[in-house]
């Protein structure tokens, strides 16, 4: 492997991180919106969201990636492959996040809502001031777990030709006829990304525990 190859792997790592991060930033609030639709039992939409989430959660990311990348142009929507990659990962993440947010919403103590209602707080104020701050806390571990899952399925974007870590490693392996060194480095890069996420989650939880103790 030459210096250029190492740089290609690093550039791939930057792409993997950036694309995963954008997909997470899009997927989490979208998932929250879907969860709220189900929580509020919006007639009609409720059932539709339930079916959509069940379907998306059963769809392999490679298959969804190929569908988005090849089918959208047929329907007249031309997307650059990076956008298709982000959209696909965000869709999958949205479905998983919906279930996480929904679980946290269902576990939310009703008495707090009733107390807020008794004090005359309106619906959106109740949600913003009472529900959301606690929801963020209780859902965080599961959300970080979902982020690590997203990073782990992100190599699916290599299938449509986005230059992520995995694609860089495959390319270098094919060019040098020595696939083991680039794959080993790719493995270490993924370990580092996911390790960082898990570590961040632990730090946050410890800080919360310390905060609660006071």
């Amino acid at each position: 492997m030459t210096a250029v190859d190492y740089l290609a792997l690093l550039a791939g790592a930057a792409n993997t991180i950036a694309i995963s991060a954008i997909a997470i930033v899009l997927g989490s609030p979208l998932g929250l919106m879907l969860a709220l639709v189900r929580w509020a039992k919006v007639p009609g939409l409720d059932g539709f969201v339930a079916v959509l989430v069940s379907l998306l959660r059963a769809t392999p990311s490679v298959t969804l990636m190929l569908l988005v990348y090849f089918a959208l142009p047929v329907l007249g929507i031309e997307l650059p492959r990076v956008v298709a990659a982000v959209a696909t990962l965000a869709l999958g993440s949205m479905a998983y996040n919906c279930e996480i947010w929904r679980g946290a919403l269902l576990a939310f103590p009703k008495d707090q809502l009733e107390a807020a209602k008794a004090f005359g707080m309106r619906r959106h104020l109740r949600f913003r001031q009472i529900v959301l701050p606690q929801l963020l806390r209780s859902a965080l571990p599961a959300l970080v777990n979902e982020m690590t899952l997203l990073v782990k399925v992100s190599p699916a974007i290599a299938v449509i030709g986005v230059a992520d870590v995995t694609r860089a490693a495959v390319r270098i392996g094919a060019a040098t006829y020595e696939p083991v060194p680039p794959f080993t480095i790719a493995l270490i890069i993924y370990l580092a990304i996911i390790g960082a996420l898990v570590l961040a989650q632990r730090l946050f939880e410890n800080r919360q525990l310390a905060g609660n103790a006071i």
């Binding site: 959660r57 769809t59 392999p60 490679v62 399925v153 995995t166 696939p179």
Partner: protein, 219 residues
């Protein structure tokens, strides 16, 4: 929207069904292998001293932090450098089995840690040890508690099996991609494939629910 694409997919249904059958075969074989391997590793975690437990746990953590697709590539393209060459089916099934075995071992360990310690202590006091302790005393409640998670893991195997398209295993996603590339009907062919994956996953979920109901009656 027109249904022309779906007509073409229907005319190529043999190709699609062969892909579905291969996906089923891959999922069945690798789930069984992952379960056996996962149980074996769990046994090592339960019975082994720190000299065994620590490296095994580290290996599980590493596998759980690696994308499945990378493991797949490593086994298919990397192993030949060490003199072992696997065909794409074998490499794919091996990758699925090893990868998911790590998750199975970890979720069994989680279920085991959540058990009350009394049964284990009582059994040891009655002289149970080794294999019999593991199979007769520790496993039954752990297995029962782990059924929903084992079902989720099987759904993960179904979804991961689509990654085998990259090493040209001719499973469901591969078949859909073939039809898509030949007739240029990407929407219909991938939507059909996704519906098949959905049915498979719903089948697993239904199976888990049925199993739990039987367990509840027998308890």
């Amino acid at each position: 929207m027109n249904f022309h694409g779906f007509e073409i997919v229907w005319s190529q249904r043999d190709l699609m069904l062969n892909g579905l059958l291969l996906t089923l075969e891959i999922v069945a074989i690798s789930s069984v292998l992952a379960a056996i391997l996962g149980f074996a590793v769990f046994g090592m975690l339960v019975q082994g001293g720190p000299a065994i437990v620590r490296p095994v746990k580290a290996a599980i953590d590493v596998i759980r932090a690696v994308p499945f697709m990378l493991l797949c590539y490593l086994l298919y393209y990397g192993l030949p450098s060490t003199g072992v060459t696997l065909d794409n089916m074998t490499a794919g099934i091996t990758a699925l089995a090893i990868y998911n075995a790590a998750y199975v071992a970890e979720l069994l360990r989680g279920a085991w840690k959540a058990q009350p310690p009394e049964a284990d202590e009582a059994a040891r006091a009655f002289g149970f040890h080794g294999w019999r302790l593991l199979v007769r005393i520790i496993m039954p409640p752990v297995l029962l508690d782990a059924v929903p998670m084992l079902g989720n893991q099987m759904i993960q195997v179904i979804k991961d099996s689509a990654f085998l398209v990259i090493i040209t295993v001719q499973e469901l996603t591969y078949a859909a991609n073939e039809i898509q590339a030949t007739y240029y009907v990407p929407f219909a062919s991938f939507v059909c494939a996704i519906l098949f994956y959905w049915i498979l996953c719903l089948g697993v979920e239904g199976g888990v629910r049925g199993l739990l109901r039987v367990a509840e009656v027998r308890r």
